[in-house]
Amino acid sequence: MGDPRFVFAALALSVFGIAMIYSAGLTDIPTPVSNAWKRQSVWLMVSIVAFAVASRVPLRWLEWLTPWIYGLALALLFAVLVVGSGPGTRSWLKFAGFSFQPAELAKLATILMLAMTLSGREEPETRLLRLWRPLLITFAPFVLVLAQPDLGSAVTFGVILICALFWAGIPLFTIFMLVSPGVSLLLGWSATVWGAWFVLVILLLYFHRPYMLEAVAVAVGNLAAGALATPLWNSLAPYQQNRLLVFLNPGIDPRGAGWHLIQSRVAIGSGGWLGQGFGDGPQKRLSFLPEQHTDFIFSVIGEELGFVGVLVVLAAFGWLLHRVVRIAVGSSQNFGSILTFSLFGAWFAHLVINIGMTVGLMPVTGLPLPFLSYGGTFLLMTFIGVALISRTALES
């Protein structure tokens, strides 16, 4: 095993996750969540088996398998759009009594594919337009996931791309140029703010002097994105708009979209220093906290284990993620290294977005928390990731 302490930390967090899911199921009126911990335990077993298998696969074989895995992922993403099911979205495939989320596989597949593409020993691309391959590799699943629609997961792909490029050594400014239209889109709601941003972009373009075509493409991209901001906002479904609005002010809709955030804060805040005690959290117990086993599992931790508990868990995550970075740095195997760092990025994004959501720093997106949130496919894919990182560590 490559890095036993890392694997042990992953396992420990998962077991802790099962304990918290068990607590999440302790509501006064039993719901399906009451048995979720049992299902999660089963999935953990499966994941451990998968870990055992995947960590034995040499990275070179994996690299060879990658395009097939990627192809399979895309195929399943297409399939779910056609025959998929789910509450309000089409994100699940059901067969033989099991539910499977292709988006999770696609994240892993994209990481692999990007790692494969970017792991050559050549000089890293400096030219934005020459990055069309990684862009395309990411764009395809991004669009398919967005079509489900699953905004949160789609955003993860962007993060993966940036991390892969970042670790492959692409110059920071190039990455900046790539990302800038995205920022323009986000800032397009206010002409003044966007204007300031655009000025910044132009200034930076001037100082770094990329190729003309690139500069023009970036400028145009920013302009287009800025212009698209409003029509894109209008095309969002009301509930999606609501989610973003209440993120800014949950008081707008305290019974509807703001409910999750308000209840999460009440639960966490009332935990105080030491929490209400494992299993005893009143907000969770009386069903005031929604999605307490998935999106808001960290709120349960906050309510029941208090600030001390939160610190411990955050420290555990911090340690685990920093180990992943160390492994990525210490690996001379480019494929493995990029793969590892991309996984770091994906997990980091999930962590920040999920926990940030519970305290109101992020809008409600439905991204699960690695190792802790209930979710079979997600746990499985995460542990395969653990296996690949472990393999990378081994082969260093």
């Binding site: 050594g169 110059p171 966490i268 935990g271 600030f307 911090g318 001379s332």
Partner: protein, 627 residues
Amino acid sequence: MNSGGNGGGNPSRPGGVRSQSDVDRMRGRRARLALGLLFGCLGVLVAAFLRLQVAGQAEYTLQSTQNRLRAISMPPPRGSIYDRRGRLLAENVPGYSLSLLPGSPDSARATLDRLAPWLGLTANERDDLYQRFRQRPGSALLVRDDMEPAIVAAIEERRPEFRMVLIDTHPRRRYPAGTAIAHVIGYVSEISESELEIPDFESYEAGRTIGKKGIEREYELSLGGTPGVRFVEVNARGSIVGEFGPRPSVPAVPGEDLTLGLDLELHLLADSIFPDTMKGGVVALDPQTGEVLLLYSHPTFDPNLFVGGISFPEWASLRDDPMQPLLNRALSALYPPGSTWKPVLASLALRDGVAGIKDYMPSACHGSLQYGNRTFHCWKHSGHGRLDMSGAIKESCNVFFYQLGQRIGLDGLLSGVSGLGFNGRTGIDIPGETGGRYPPNRGWYDERFGPRGWTESVTLNLSIGQGETEQSLLRMAQFYAAVATGQPPIIPHLRRSEVMEARRVDWRLDLPEERRQELIAALARVVNEPGGTAYSVRLADWTLAGKTGTAQNPHGEAHSWFVGFAPAENPRIVIAAIVENGHPDNTRSLAVPLASRLAHRFLTDEGIPPSPPREPAAASAVSGASP
């Protein structure tokens, strides 16, 4: 300058291969950047949690409590009400309500079908209940609020069939004497929105039971008690989960029991002997203590109907009944006193020396009196002949009193009578009293009829208790109590004297004792001497004294009055009775035997030693005092 930044390796070899050490260095730098971002974000998260959990703990703990804490009011047991002998007038009995517990719609349907024969549910009612059940899946559904105990027992016996049924008890008011005491006791029901605004009921909440009328209302604050509070925990759907540990429930403070001076026996007797088809009322007072012994109005109603809310058809039938059963004729109705007014005049005359008990008036009674160009009649068309005041009282001669009134003079009548409290309320401790009416001065007539719209002839009508005077039973009884005891009367009250501060009225009769005895003797002659208008109802064991009255009324037959007291030498009961239009055949006067029987009953029950009336002496020798 090429695309730099801390970018890739050697710019002088574009398209070439970079060395592993370059890569490692690049990665080392970028790793530090990444880790910096990681710990930066974690730091922000920690700060956010710090703000919520440390700085915000108090506030969020409060919100957490507010989310799940509900205070449920526990109704206090209401005080019971007793009569002077400790008999129950109002009590609390358990009331049963039946609800359907949350569960599967199919079970609900089946349970409703099984309940139908017991509760008498029609198919429509069953469907309606079923729909309401389905609309609120997490809550219990109240099916019936007021169940008969027999049906409750039957359902409890068949528990396995009715698992979804919840039977709950709550206290319910009951008036065992029902119709006999309806008007005086009043009834209770749920507090209304407008009542919630009343400052006295500031602490009352919606859903609380409150006295609406009568004694129940008058003494609401002491009968009502204070509700307790039960703190329960609710979940996000609002369902009660359990008691809220940190806050123990506050027990309810029961209402105080109340004892009234009423005599339930009198009420029951009055209810049974009052002529069924007639309207009217009876009031009885204890002249020594001011306690009200009887406050009865007919027709009456069953106050138990109102408890828990009266059904609309029942309410409508009471409201629309032309006999007006809801009107309290003992308290809220005014009548012209008719001949019962004559002793008032006599008191004034005796007090002010205008005439003596043995004095005659200029004109004898031949059936009428001429005044100006108008003829004023006496009820006895053949006339009474020559009578002195005592005889005029005994035989109720109008002609005598027309002249007496003239002798007193209109001003004397107006100011004298007004000074005896006949304009306004007695102040009895029960809501709804209507104060009597009497012209206070000439100005009143001027305003009413215009300065030239009336003449002194109003004096004559006033003298015989007709015209612009209307009084209540209560007020007439109170005046006779003043005559009977020689003291300023105590303000009538329903509550027992021991706990009430007795307050005397602010007016004075001021009859010298000798004159008073003369008057009492005359009143005794009315009942106990042959020829007296109430001779037929004289009592064997006590001397009943009083005055009959026939009050003309423009709407029909004259009203029948009697106001009196017994025993005359040491009065223990003053009684005033009226039967509207109570002069069938123009011979019988229905109020008179009513009052007599009630007085007899009271004196018997109280164990007053008999003191039979003396044989009437020679007509002129009147001495009221008896051994």
